[in-house]
Amino acid sequence: MYCNIRFHRHCQSRAPMPCVPKVPMPKTPSKQKCPLAQYCPETHPFIPPLIIHCIVALERDRLNSEGIYRLTSNAEIVGKLYQEFLTQRKTPILSSVETENITGCIKKFLKELRDSLIPSTSCDEFVRAIESNDDQEIINCVFELAAPNRDTLAYIILHLQKVSQHSEANKMHIENLATVLAPTIIEYPAVVTLENVEKLNRNQVMILQRLLKLPTEFWKSFLDSNMDAEFSNTRSILYETQTIGSTPILSSLTPTKPSKRGRRSIISNILDLQSDYSTSKTSVNSSPITPIIQPLSNALKGMRRISFKAAI
């Protein structure tokens, strides 16, 4: 499912980028908050367009901006931008928007969700997982998340890992990013009191730190492949069982198999666009085939027991 936009090669620079499916504004009675799924497209990867546009803009030329994600935004500008994203047909142009207002828009979007990206119901499991000090436990928790939460989380984590690679310039290393964003990404599971608030805060930050330290390949696998067949439509279930099976997912991303072009378009659109601009040397096509990204479809349950440590 891609937009079919056609343009002359020389006009490419003026094309609306990234090309992501538009999602109609969720209609909710009164001022109720919407769940994440309602902001996501109907096809994999389930990531809200607002998140993609903002992250692509940040990765284009702002990764070195000091205090990225930490500096406070202008609530008014962010509010306007947020509304524009959700209500206007045309995607807002971010090139002239200040970095802290773009990060502010991402934060606002996550804050306005009915439940946080890591929902309050999953928080206890994540806390148990970090206490067990076993990466596999954390990975299991990530697999338990609903597809929109998992894909969006994966996309955001991959982005934050890139941000932290520039920490010499932007001063935002993983620990700092975790401190700043944890309360936005992870909801308090319990009633907050002045007694428990410190522990809750520390737990949130620890969870995000550990997620940020999981290997990039692990997070990429969610964007490369649709692991939750149930969430997507029937066609993609068929498609997955027929074509991927036990073959490495990477083969499905090569242009030699034309039947996957539609599928590739969105994913590679997002990832390629970023690898063009980022200093990271690895792109989707050149990333090594690891055991992580091989099995799919019917092996969904089996996935959970695969160790990701080997891939580090």
């Binding site: 406070t72 401190t179 907050v192 002045l194």
Partner: protein
């Protein structure tokens, strides 16, 4: 009473946008140190320092808040017990200056009415990156009738002065029936115990 190492206890609060240097100001004042690592504060933290002012030993309990918006619901609950509030902006960051009005509204909403406010324009050592002139800081302070200083935690400019001035202003505001010292201690203590009882 004999146990007490101080005559008065003042609760102070540091607020302001993320990254303006609240923690650095506090760290410079309490430990006379400066750390260039750019570490965000989680939720809320505090330090204690006892100073002497007008012959009185004053214990300053200084609460340092996280500037991140998501922490605001927690940090605002600390406003109520505060006797003095330092509102910090960064002279190299226009946004932090623009947000002063928002922080002042927060104070009006959550802090007690007689709280002593002070505006600090931090990072005044960074002259080449300055975007907010000292005059603009002074003007907004006059408009809101609050004290104002430009500070630098890095170069240790006006840090001690800021805390002493604030403490002095609180001291001057205290009930003038200070002829009996023990009388003036009590109300302070009651106030300081309030937030813990009230918020839990």
């Amino acid at each position: 009473m004999a146990k007490k190492q101080y005559d008065l206890l003042f609760k102070l609060l540091l607020i302001g946008d993320s990254g303006v240097g609240k923690t650095c100001i506090l760290y410079r004042f309490s430990d006379d140190a400066f750390n260039t690592t750019f570490i965000s504060t989680i939720g809320i933290d505090f330090k204690i320092k006892t100073i002497e002012l007008k012959g009185k030993k004053i214990k300053l309990q200084i609460w340092d808040t996280a500037g991140q918006e998501r922490f605001h619901t927690i940090t605002t609950s600390y406003y109520r017990g505060a006797m003095g509030i330092m509102l910090v902006y960064d002279i190299t960051n226009a946004r932090s200056f623009e947000n002063i009005a928002k922080w002042l509204r927060n104070i009006d909403e959550h802090a007690s009415e007689d709280v002593v406010k002070m505006l600090l324009g931090n990072k005044c050592d960074m002259t080449d990156r300055r975007v907010i002139s000292k005059e603009r800081g002074e003007k907004i302070a006059i408009d809101h009738q609050i004290r104002f200083l430009e500070t630098s935690a890095k170069s240790n400019i006006n840090i001690d002065k800021a805390f002493y001035d604030l403490a002095e202003a609180i001291l001057d505001k205290m009930p003038s029936q200070s002829s009996t010292n023990s009388m003036s201690i009590r109300p302070v203590e009651q106030e300081s115990n309030k937030p813990q009882g009230g918020c839990c």
